[in-house]
């Protein structure tokens, strides 16, 4: 009996997966709340409870994510970009390009048939390149984050944002609201702005089909549409896109095959 755990401790949400013994992966997610150690402990405990397993049943754990560096080094840590590539390669063996829209940043990953990273670019120090941009805009428009995708798809005349900066775009969105622009049109403009920004990175990295979209941003149907229109490709979107990196971590835990999970994370 071999079970493997992957923990992706992100800046806003922590995601975990247990795989093994031919069973479908078991998923769990909770907010990180800026206490990454507590989040990792809670995530691991709740995940084990969900799977009806004990800590000692886990053969190996890999921990990853934006905030994994803040945790004590009791598990093997692997860079989240590598885990993301492994996760996508597992789900879509034909994928050669990944657009990963996380809360803090967006990044483009090129990968080999084996799921190894052959190139990557990130949006770096810019809030307009990640999911946070969508959260800010949802907040301004007083729309639930889960609703912005369906609303955006109803747009008739998307607003064009003149800036690529999240702070200025926030002001611009407020101005458009004051001018009477429809929320749907503003949201479609937001999706186009984010897609434009990350598509420029795709161009730099080189787009090779198939192209997968993952991260929390891939839950947003408006963003998927914007990317597909901008890039002219059909994107491969996982059913649980926000768990891809955790899945890759669990897969890499399986590759290590070491039993190192005898302590609390």
């Amino acid at each position: 009996m071999k079970w493997f755990m992957g923990l992706d401790i992100g800046s806003t949400a922590s995601k975990g997966i247990i795989t093994g013994n031919g069973r479908p992966p078991l998923y769990h997610r909770l907010p990180s709340k800026a206490d990454y150690r507590a989040a990792a402990e809670a995530l691991s405990s709740e995940l084990l409870a969900k799977a009806d397993l004990r800590r000692q049943d886990i053969t190996a754990t890999v921990i990853t994510g934006h905030s994994a560096g803040d945790l004590p080094a009791k598990h093997r840590r692997i860079a989240d970009i590598r885990c993301c590539a492994r996760g996508i390669a597992h789900l879509f063996p034909q994928a050669r390009t990944i657009i990963d829209v996380q809360a803090m940043s967006g990044r483009i990953i090129r990968l080999s048939a084996e799921g190894r990273v052959t190139d990557f670019i990130s949006s770096e120090l810019c809030a307009a390149g990640g999911g946070r941009f969508l959260e800010v805009m949802a907040n301004i428009l007083r729309v639930e984050l889960d609703d912005i995708g369906p609303l955006s798809l109803k747009a008739r005349k998307p607003v064009h944002f003149t800036t690529g900066c999240a702070v200025f775009a926030e002001s611009e969105a407020i101005s458009r609201v004051a001018e009477g622009a429809a929320k749907e049109d503003i949201l479609a403009g937001v999706h186009q702005a984010l897609a434009d920004k990350l598509a420029a990175l795709v161009e730099r990295a080189g787009l090779e089909e198939g192209c997968a979209l993952c991260g929390g941003g891939a839950l947003d149907s408006g963003l998927i549409k914007a990317f597909q229109e901008k890039l002219g490709v059909n994107l491969l979107v996982p059913e649980q896109p926000q768990f891809v990196t955790a899945l890759g971590a669990a897969i890499m835990a399986g590759e290590t095959g070491r039993n190192e999970d005898k302590e609390q994370p």
């Binding site: 860079a79 190894r116 052959t118 670019i121 770096e124």
Partner: protein, 444 residues
């Protein structure tokens, strides 16, 4: 108790070279105290420094002082001061550090107490340079807000590769440089009220070329496997040449000692890192001076930085025999530093980017597995060619590049934890391209 080895195996011969920079600041302070002339200079690639030395002017380089302040953790205060004076944060970090320092100096009525290395004394004159960097045109001019000092700007023509190879262009540019160096001498003679000793200039010029020839030989040895000298030693030793920190004859002797030490390492296959050399890398552009410990962490992973940006390297040797006028020798030498790769770039069909071409040679000759690009968020000159370099290295040599954004002075712009995460991922990329190069028939 056994002493734990440090990740980077520093060269013993580096320390005296680094010490010359300390001496340069001390000499500046002594000269100011004795009422002797002191110049604040910009890096001018040996165009004007030998002339200042021949005129017994003590020299200090605010660009180097920016690196010093960053390394000592003193830069943030000067950056904040320059921001308070209205200089925007996207301006050159070295310039902002200098302007902030100068603001503090004028407030304090002398060198501010917190100034590292004893500080920079108020200058008698300013020597600017129009070479490479546009910010430098306005930076020294902006110092006029704080104090009055005469400013001379040396120009170095920057033709494109094709234009530089146009028949007659080379000699026209040399004549231009020689003429302006002559005018610079006249300016100094009028300012200081004395004549320049041309024999002394002749001697300094000869020693300068000799100094750089040894420095060049040092860097040639670094092609060896394992790489015998880490970039950190390069950056510590570079200012002795680039800023002509001491008498060039003395510096030449120290580079020769460094050559001997590295030769011994090469003969005995001693590495610059105390872990097995897994990856050989080039570092493009200046490093984050405030976070040099970052390279220790990479060395622990087996990353050996074996070469750096060509613009901070000495020119390849040039035959100046038969050129008797020292001003002409200086002109030919500094112009050669800039244009020394033009012919090869043109022949290789890489004529459109003289800034990028030398890296194709470096990465091939030093057999690099990867390149770390360090776009400096406050420096356009150091940044705008980097994506071109990455593109050419991939297309021509199948060598990947890692982008780590940061700044030479402003530590707020650098994310060491994020950079290390990227580094881990980049190892996978370098491994992939090792296989690709092998399949394509490359030798490394």
């Amino acid at each position: 108790m056994t002493e734990k080895k440090r990740p980077i195996n520093r060269l013993k011969s580096m320390y005296p070279l680094r010490g010359l920079i300390d001496g340069m600041y001390r000499q500046g302070l002594s000269a100011a105290a004795e009422g002797k002339p002191v110049a604040w200079c910009m890096v001018n690639w040996w165009q004007g420094d030998p002339i200042l030395k021949a005129m017994d002017v003590a020299t200090i380089y605010p660009e180097d002082y920016g690196a010093v302040c960053a390394a000592f953790g003193a830069a943030q205060g000067y950056l904040e001061r320059s921001a308070a004076d209205g200089f925007p944060s996207h301006m050159c970090g070295y310039a902002r550090n200098c302007l902030g320092y100068t603001g503090r100096m004028m407030d304090a009525g002398g060198i501010p107490e917190e100034a590292p290395m004893g500080g920079m004394p108020r200058p008698t004159l300013l020597l600017g340079s129009g070479s490479l960097c546009d910010a430098r045109y306005k930076w020294f001019q902006s110092l006029g807000r704080y104090f009055d000092a005469p400013l001379w700007v040396l120009e170095l023509p920057h033709p494109g590769v094709k234009e530089g190879l146009t028949p007659g262009a080379h000699e026209t540019n040399i004549s231009f440089i020689v003429a302006q160096l002559g005018e610079f001498v006249t300016f100094l003679e009028n300012l200081l009220g004395k004549k320049m000793n041309r024999d002394r200039l002749d001697e300094i010029t000869t020693d300068t070329v000799e100094m750089n020839n040894w420095w060049h030989k040092v860097n040639e040895l670094r092609r060896a496997r394992p790489g015998p000298m880490h970039s950190r030693d390069f950056w510590s030793s570079m200012p002795a040449s680039l800023y002509m920190a001491a008498d060039p004859g003395q510096t030449a002797g120290l580079y020769r000692r460094m050559y001997d030490e590295i030769k011994e390492r090469v003969d005995n296959k001693v590495s610059a890192i105390n872990t097995t050399e897994k990856y050989r890398l080039a570092f493009l552009e200046l490093p984050p001076w405030h976070s040099l410990g970052f390279f220790d962490k990479l060395a622990e992973r087996g990353w050996n930085f074996v070469i750096e940006s060509w613009a901070y390297h000495p020119p390849r040797p040039i035959d100046l025999n038969g050129v008797t006028d020292p001003l002409e020798r200086l002109a030919r030498y500094s112009y050669h530093w800039l244009t020394g790769y033009y012919r090869q770039a043109y022949d290789a069909g890489e004529w459109w980017g003289y800034f990028a071409y030398p890296y194709l040679e470096y990465v091939r000759d030093y057999q690099c597995d990867g390149v770390v690009l360090h776009p400096l968020l406050s420096c356009r000159t150091a940044t705008n060619h980097l994506t071109l370099v990455a593109d050419r290295l991939m297309k021509k040599l199948k060598v990947p590049s890692l982008v780590i954004e940061g700044d030479i002075v402003d530590l707020k712009l650098f994310d060491p934890a994020g950079a290390l995460t990227k580094a881990e991922t980049f190892e996978e990329t370098m491994d992939h391209y090792k296989k690709v190069r092998k399949e394509a028939g490359f030798s490394w």
